[in-house]
Amino acid sequence: MAKTDFEVPELHEYVDVPALEEGVMAHLSPFVAKPDHQEPLNFPGELVEDWHDKTLAKLDDLRSRYRSLQVYLDACVKCGSCTDKCHYYLGTKDPKNMPVGRQDLLRKVYRRYFTFAGKYFPKLVGAEDLTRETLDDWYSYYHQCSQCRRCSVFCPYGIDTAEISMAAREILDSIGYGQKYCNEIIAKVFKIGNNLGLPGPALADTLEGLEEDVFDETGIEVKYPLDVKGADILLVTPSADFFAEPHVDGLIGYGKVFHEAGVSWTMSSHASEAANFGMFIGSYENMRRVSMRVREAALELGVKRIVFGECGHAWRVAYSFLNTLAGPFDFLDPDYPVPQHICEFTNDLIEKGKLNFDKSANDHMTLTFHDSCNVARATRMGDKPGGQFEIPRAVIKAVCNNYVDMHHETIGEKTYCCGGGGGLLTDDLMEIRVKGALPRMTALKNAVEEQGVTHMAAICAICKSQFTKVLPYYGMTMDQIVSVHQLVSNAIVLTGQKTEDDESEEQEAEG
């Protein structure tokens, strides 16, 4: 764990609604993108001279393109329902991290220039001039929002702060004031094919290593294929699954499930990334360019189905937008969902009784499940409402004997963000990441103390990395976060695989 120059919140039984401390997070802004990061995304390299006019023109453009944005800017009645619902406000006490406070940063400029009352009686309606300081305030506080949409669950008008935050970032990008973390990564996807910048040979080497490891462990030749033409299924998974822990243990699990299902599958070096940071920066054009790689790979490889690995916002883009962004997918097999989530795929096999498990392989753990925000509030799985909550839990329960949920106010559609979503998973924002994790850490700690939970599973690469980093700040350990398909991998008994019981029986027979 790194040294800290900020105060880590203490965990209590409940998260109290804190007294306001104005401006306490104004110092925190992520590193600004350089021209090298901006230009591949078709954004100006640095802040343009006529930023004032360009900002207003872009805001005008966005509110006409997205009717939702116009409604959200107009509809707020300051009822206060959202005020204590944001993990970043609860963890920082800064009123600009209240959802309404965050929305108002953009709303006050909208009112000043685009409404009658704001033009003529600005003070009466909280309208304010757009200044250079406004831009810095936007840059700071719109990068303290993980676009998790928890606040929108509680807003009686359904105002979605995520869309306002995305619009603000799009405006900032369009005037040359972008965020390094997101934009550097999107540029890497265009150049190399994934967020990490893993070239094809490195991917191939890594996957070959996994095949060796699984063979050593099970005696079965499970394949982790790359760029295989004519395979039935294209797996698109976050590049963190190749690179990081516990992500890679999930990838190992997907491979074992595909192996047992007897299907032909492949990954693609061209579409070696499920994540789509184009959504975080509110850029339809960049989100589309990233998505098109999936379509191109599917056509090039001639697959019949597309399955997405464990990645939260990727599933939102895939489930909700992929057909609009990169469709039509009329070349895929219509008998399967387009696309399908790996948890749906595994759960179908479990329901059909096609997978064998030794659940005791996970008996050293008591699990709980962290609902990732984008999966929980922006998607579905299976064919029933709430499938996105039920299916991952059904998979965990099929492979683990010990499972409990965290407090009901902190899961399902009311789940708290991990604290690192929406383009905030960068070291320069560690303070907001740690503080924003407070509600989830509180719920987890309670489950640890009251119900003996030892590990938390998740189906999002960002959640897994974020928890790996922040758990130690709260007195827990980095290995307490696991992948759902890591649990599957632990418990699955591959056809022909010798179990420990078989081995000891053999030894007895020989002895």
Partner: protein, 110 residues
């Protein structure tokens, strides 16, 4: 930003990574480690040297599992895990060790 190594100065970015990776020399790792209150031992250098070899071949840092496996094979199974790597590089092998070794910063959901 820049760092001084053996009388020469090297440009680094805002996160402390070397800007021109081709300029890397061992002294840079020593100075960066000192700034992080670390003294580089032969154990550290075993990791840093592996990172550089891998980078030369693949133009990217090795995945954590590739690294732990290689370390385990070379130095014994008890060292082939993340815990050992974090004990050497508390900010994380991916980020801190890569920075010392003159590799680009791994980016993404990690």
């Amino acid at each position: 930003m820049e760092i001084e190594v053996n009388g020469k100065s090297f440009e680094t970015d805002e996160e402390g990574y070397l800007v021109n990776l081709a300029e890397w020399e061992p002294g840079i790792a020593e100075v960066m480690a000192k700034e992080d209150d670390l003294e580089l031992t032969s154990e550290h250098w075993e990791i840093l040297n592996f990172l550089r070899e891998y980078y030369e071949e693949y133009q990217i840092a090795p995945a954590v599992r590739v690294l732990t496996k290689a370390v385990g094979k070379k130095l014994g199974a008890e060292k082939g895990n993340s815990k050992y790597l974090y004990s050497l590089f508390p900010y994380g092998p991916g980020k801190q060790a890569c920075r010392f070794a003159g590799l680009p910063k791994p980016t993404g959901c990690i």
